[in-house]
């Protein structure tokens, strides 16, 4: 299994541009998450999904959109990029079945700079 795969790894955007961060997992996990991590800070939940066709807002959803058309893919869309969106973005997934299935697996991160 490849686990959780994120692309791109690095990206520089100009203010006002849009882009999509791709995330795919091959573990048949039902739950998927997008977090952002500012330098020296913790993980803030942007959006999450409990299954295909279902998405919900996290702690910091403004300026972002997501979709979950398949179990495997959970892209994160940035519309009208702003400097405040400069951050490292982590996609993650887990299987929700029972207490033993709560381990969350992270992608390697996408470093985004908005200038």
């Amino acid at each position: 299994n490849a686990g959780v795969t994120q692309t791109p790894k690095f990206r520089i955007l100009k203010i006002g541009q849009s882009m999509t961060l791709q995330c795919a997992q091959d573990m048949n996990h039902n739950y998927m998450y997008w977090y952002r991590q500012d330098p020296g800070m913790g993980l803030k939940l942007i959006y999450y999904s409990v299954g295909a066709g279902i998405t919900d807002k996290g702690e910091v959803p403004n300026g972002y959109n997501v979709s979950r058309s398949t179990t495997e893919d959970f892209p994160l869309r940035l519309e009208l990029a702003a400097p405040s969106q400069t951050s490292v973005y982590f996609c993650a997934s887990r299987w929700s079945g029972g207490n033993s299935g709560n381990t969350i697996y992270f992608g390697e991160g996408s470093w985004l700079t908005v200038v």
Binding site: G42, L45, Y48, N99, I104, Y105, G109
Partner: protein
Amino acid sequence: GQQVMQIPQYQHVQEGEDFTTYCNSSTTLSNIQWYKQRPGGHPVFLIQLVKSGEVKKQKRLTFQFGEAKKNSSLHITATQTTDVGTYFCAGPNSNTGKLIFGQGTTLQVKP
């Protein structure tokens, strides 16, 4: 909404000293998880605690889950330079599927 707080935010220790980080949730948790993130890396799962009062050990790491299932701690005995990184606790919301992380405790170990 649910909040997960961790203290301290930073800790510098001399190699060989012990280290403890504490995690407190505003709500009762069904379980709590701990993750480690090395500098420049992504968080990696360490352990999950489920039962009230549970204690688990991984070599020099000891994890505890409080009796009320609202707090937890991670204790490292005799730190090594390989322990450097940020340690996060995370509390899942069993109703919504949300997984909220604490702010993390960054550990620096001086050789």
